[in-house]
Assembly symmetry: C2
Homo-oligomer: 205 residues x 2
DNA sequence: GCAACACCTGTACGAAAGGACAGGCTGCCG
DNA sequence: CGGCAGCCTGTCCTTTCGTACAGGTGTTGC
């Protein structure tokens, strides 16, 4: 029997997952959580085999939750079950320790496959997502932002000017311009408004 | 018996809703759809009492779907069941003919309440959303964009310059500037990057 | 008829933004 | 060690942005 904890901010999704899993015969839902902290508590208490985790949680980012549960229970297997893909989101999750990344838009059966795979010690990536990742590896320049760039991108989205950003980060305005230009090149845009739009759509911020 | 059609791009959500509704005794799910066109077909075929509709559908916008089903079957009652709120999204949906607006983040029982209400001919708005709407009515200036402004906002998000926008719309660059300033005032921002971020977060684009 | 609103336009100006040069420092990896 | 990547800084210049002033047209509704 595979013991699973579910974490999703939509109760209806928890219902749907639970129904599918209970019908399977070999998977058992031992706890549900609608917030990151609850997921953490549930993992501590139940010590499950697998955590099914949504990335869009109120308050904490799903990635933080993932990092925290991994710190508590490094052997725990994790399936990311989320609405949105995007290479940056996927690879961030995998780097944070996820073992599978399944989209909510696919069939309900796929999640069950993923859970069984990770419980058996194997990673699981749907072909579509794997293909996308491979495409990015071939073209590593695009959409791969450094820490500093991501930081500045966030400030861009807050509407700060280069000067405001420079004083916030204690660097020269010229340096901000440099980073901003780098961001534009990576995102394939020509100005900050477009950069913010693209970044938000790609889930970079 | 209330006959219901479900439309959501996540099969797992359809499962969850269906489970909750079937258990209720007085609600019956007669069709499911994961795309707008399927929802339309299902409404034509089944002539249901209520349509439960997600606003985030692949391809078509949920609002377009709503307008189309309303054209086919004006007496059909519609419950919007979506992940995100925001006064602009809510009021757009209500203006497009929705009878209820329920967030996925709330308890599963709330959706059932909403379905029963609209089937009985009453509208349904959760207190939290209603309160938010009232707040906006008190301050009508903010976050209420005209057609033209919304149009320009979209082009802003595409990274177009004022000049590019002006030639696209066949108006003077000066006029674009005027509209952009209006947008800033309504959104409470000071530049285009921030405007795009706020607009996207509020679901205006 | 006139008030309100959406939409459009002009001139002028200071403040940013963004690109094109060129260069320095650090830490990591082969 | 030498190369590479991330991060930082400078000057110069052109373009764009954003706001200030002020004003015109058409439509809707009281």
């Amino acid at each position: 029997m595979i013991r699973v904890v579910l974490a999703d901010d939509h109760p209806i999704v928890l219902d749907g997952i639970a129904m599918n899993l209970e019908d399977s015969g070999d998977v058992q839902v031992v706890a549900r959580a609608v917030r990151g902290s609850e997921a953490l508590d549930a993992v501590k208490r139940e010590n499950p085999d697998v955590l099914v985790l949504d990335l869009e949680l109120p308050g904490e980012s799903g990635l933080d939750v993932l990092a925290n549960v991994k710190r508590i229970s490094p052997v725990l297997r994790t399936v990311i079950f989320t609405a949105y893909g995007g290479t940056e989101r996927v690879s961030s999750a995998l780097r944070a320790g996820a073992d599978a990344y399944v989209l909510k838009g696919t069939s309900s059966a796929e999640l069950l496959d993923a859970i069984r795979s990770v419980a058996a010690g194997r990673a699981y990536l749907p072909p579509a997502i794997a293909a996308e990742l491979i495409g990015t590896l071939r073209d590593p320049a695009r959409e791969r932002l450094t820490q500093r760039e991501t930081e500045i991108l966030r400030l861009l989205a807050d509407g700060l000017s280069n000067k405001a950003i420079s004083s916030q980060l204690n660097i020269a305005e010229r340096t901000v311009k440099f980073h901003v230009s780098e961001i534009f090149a990576r995102l394939g845009v020509a100005n900050r408004a477009h950069a913010v739009a693209v970044a938000q759509k790609a889930g970079l911020i």
